[in-house]
Symmetry: C2
Subunit: 520 residues, 2 copies
């Protein structure tokens, strides 16, 4: 059995390498193909889609986080009367941000699906994709119009128009792809059922624009109906699949697809999601969120020379001291987001295949990450020891907690199907398992701890928060050491008898890996 596992490891590696190599391979293939195709129809510019997708991911990640800016720029005052109305405004803005984030990631998921079918591009497809991107980047604006004027049909009409045009462009891309079959996914290219695939994919793609057409027609009559239709359009596939999945888990019955069904466009929670693109999108979000505060600082926190001359007697240091809290917020949020990225990076290093459900948890985690700079800014904005400051610190802790928790959830999801989705090292009993668990649970635990401490010692909330900020990077640096000490302690506490029986196998495959190195 041990040997069996070993070969599986190698197989996994091969799969992984195959997947990663596909891009360069396409690249060289594309030229051969382009020669072949140019001999056929005189038209040749087939290209690998790798960079097009990277650029699209960068654009979408910026757009997903754009609606956090209106939230971040809401000004707070200690005036109790204004506070309520500002809080209501803020709640609306946060809701808009979260909804936009969700909708943009839905569009992003559709984009991934499309380019899992179309694996190679040419100039025409690249230009069509750019047009599609332009409309996706406009979605947040139509959505914020909808939120600001819920009873006006304009917002919903604009939104529907954008979605319909995006759908049409995607259908055009599919049609173009199927008329140039060398652009398609190899599996579909080889298949004899191309016509069936084409119809099925077009059906799925056109479902959304057609529903949007209905929504826009209804908006003239009864606007609430259109909102309901829109909600159904976007979330029904996921809800239906979720119910089906729960059902299949509960009853244990197998939900079998027809053997001909397309491997994409299934909305299964275990449908593969391009790991590369999840990474690229997450990198984009982490990068833009990490620099959100420095954008503001560079623009707003350079004092006016005349003011410095008049009010601070040309003492620049004194003038800049006013902005102290902003610098602190910047460094704090950059460090926290950087470390959350680091955890994400460590996790995906050991993930061999990303699934749709993991993608969903990733989206939730990223949505919380987007709120971090704002929370940090709040932390330093209120007078020391005030009730507001305590609240701000606690909000920061809650955001960090959930951002970290959803990262942990991704790993737990992956563990359920670990043979397919995880590298052996981080599976149950793998030699990096404990270390990965420690990495992923460090932030949730620390955030929870800080939250509890601030509740008990509310007077020192800021100091506790600052200590947390400073301590966590060092905790990550010595984490491996800590995990080893903890493992030794656990082993010593719970099974002292087995301490000298090193040969007890936790799992067959581990005995082949030098797990002892970690424990001893």
């Amino acid at each position: 059995m041990g040997e069996n596992d070993e070969s599986e490891i190698i197989e996994h590696h091969d799969d992984e390498e195959m997947e990663k190599m596909r891009t360069p391979r396409n690249h060289s293939q594309s030229f051969l193909e382009s020669v072949a195709s140019s001999e056929k129809d005189g038209y040749s510019s087939t290209q690998s889609s790798h960079r097009l997708l990277a650029y699209s991911d960068a654009l979408i990640s910026i757009i997903a986080t754009v609606m956090i800016l209106p939230v971040a720029h809401t000004k707070f005052q200690d005036n109790e009367e204004l506070k309520l109305s500002i809080q209501a405004l803020l709640t609306t803005k946060v809701a808009v941000y979260l909804m936009t984030f969700l909708i943009v990631t839905v569009a992003w998921a559709a984009h991934i699906r499309l380019f899992q079918v179309i694996e190679r591009i040419d100039d025409t497809l690249a230009l069509l994709n750019l047009a599609c991107m332009m409309l996706i980047t406009f979605l947040p604006y139509t959505f914020s119009l909808m939120a600001t004027f819920p009873n006006n049909t304009l917002g919903i009409l604009l939104f529907c128009a954008c979605v319909m045009v995006i759908g049409l462009i995607q259908a055009l891309i599919v049609l173009y792809g199927f008329s140039h079959p060398f652009l398609l996914n190899d599996q579909i290219q080889m298949s004899e059922n191309q016509a069936y695939y084409k119809r099925r994919i077009l059906e799925v793609i056109m479902r959304v624009p057609i529903m949007c057409l209905f929504a826009s027609v209804f908006s003239a009559i009864f606007i609430q109906v259109s909102y309901i239709i829109l909600a159904i359009v976007i979330f029904l596939p996921y809800i239906a699949q979720c119910l089906k999945w729960i059902q299949s888990k509960a009853i244990g019955g197998q939900v079998e697809d027809s053997p001909d069904s397309v491997p994409f466009y299934t909305y299964h929670p275990s449908e593969p999601l391009s790991k590369e693109r999840v990474e690229a999108f997450s990198d984009g979000v982490y990068a833009i969120v990490a620099t959100l505060l420095i954008l503001d600082i560079c623009e707003d926190n350079v004092p006016d020379p005349s003011v410095v001359k008049k009010e601070f007697d040309n003492n620049l240091v004194a003038a800049l001291q006013e902005y102290g809290p902003e610098y602190l917020a910047y460094f704090g949020s950059f460090a926290t987001i950087g470390l959350l990225w680091f955890v994400h990076h460590s996790l995906f290093l050991h993930v061999t295949k990303a699934t749709r459900l993991m993608g969903l948890f990733n989206t939730f985690s990223l949505a919380f990450v987007g709120g971090l700079p704002l929370a940090y800014q709040l932390t330093h904005e209120f007078p020391r020891g005030s009730r507001n400051e305590l609240e701000a610190v606690q909000i920061s802790c809650v955001i960090i907690f959930f951002a970290g928790l959803f990262q942990l959830a991704m790993w737990v999801t992956a563990l359920f199907t670990e043979r397919e989705t995880l590298h052996p090292y981080v599976r149950y009993g793998g030699r990096e398992h404990a270390f990965m668990l420690a990495k992923l649970s460090l932030y949730p635990c620390v955030a929870l701890g800080t939250f509890v401490f601030t509740c008990v010692l509310s007077r020192f909330s800021t100091s506790i928060f600052h200590m947390m900020e400073i301590g966590v990077p060092f905790a990550f640096l010595v984490l491996r050491l800590l995990v080893r000490v903890a493992l030794v302690l656990l082993r010593w506490l719970f099974c002292p008898a087995r301490n000298d029986l090193d040969s007890v196998p936790v799992e067959e495959e581990d005995s082949q890996l030098p797990i002892n190195d970690i424990v001893t």
Copy 2:
């Protein structure tokens, strides 16, 4: 000879594939290595550096473009008295933007160099790199302090402090890398001169922080001296190499290095620059610049419900018409930037190796791209037919012209060493050569044409500009057709006799490629 060339093509492909495969290969290697190393010293978490670099590129590209925001948010008025002071302010801000862009790209180039030596990372290096990134993202702020208060030592001290700490962290990374040799570049890893390489690289890295130390000491005595020192620090290596290169070209003498010299840290114009990272950085800049305007639109251009009720009688469409110019500017700039990205993408598809000089031209091109949204915004901000509007349109044309011209310059640079840097298809006489030339020169030509037209027909400048905006995407769609027609015309005009003599070889290798497909 023909066969020789053929084999070279294959070799090129192999090199390319090798380079692209390196990442996944490292990935699998890292695990093997980590097992090996963990057996040696019990410490194991070697990883591929691919994603760390992608994240760093994303961060740096955002930071490089951040100083365009203060430029973009400068408000214009038609008041003649204010205009001069605003123009002066704007010039300063544009200068700050360009200088920041240049300095950040210098830091980025140093980062590339460092991670061409350190090819694999572990957790400690990842955390050190994040610390380094945090300081790099702070550079623009120190620089804008320097620009706003040129006579105050604080800005220069902060800048020097940042640079010194960045230098120290980089030195730490190098020392850490050389103490764990399996993290190093294979070439250095195999070499027997590791100690020499280490000393040489540390020398180059520490040169800048030490000069900055001098600059900060001098700033207390005579501030102008420190500015000169800083300028020398940053640009001397490039100027020296440039002079050396010109000299070697002019005299024809060979500038020979000692055979032991490090392949990196040479500052040669032909020093290789990771093509992957140039692409990632460019993608980041194009993405952030393309979405700059929508960021503002989403935040500022959602009207207040009470205002719409009072002033526009609840007519949202009328209220939004005020923002018409902003939407136009957004779509125009998004399309232009998208198409410039498309050209860049097409070029780098055929580039097999990027050099430092190409990187420099790329930086210049990107710096102009960064100014595009602003120029487009200006175009629509002034009353129709005014003098300001004409100027704004012309500025837009100039910016597009230079952005495109530097892209063309990259290709021309690559053509000088085409055997190393370009794919055979786009070399002189290759079958995509004419098409690539057309793609790269379309924007400079169109921008130049629009500029000339607006000078002649200044009354219709906006209409001409809009027609250009709308026409260019379609021109790209039918470009291949246009090129074919142009080639046939050229052939017909200049060598009608050769028209039927298809066997005349332009170059040996082309006769093997189906060049006829394009021409006929």
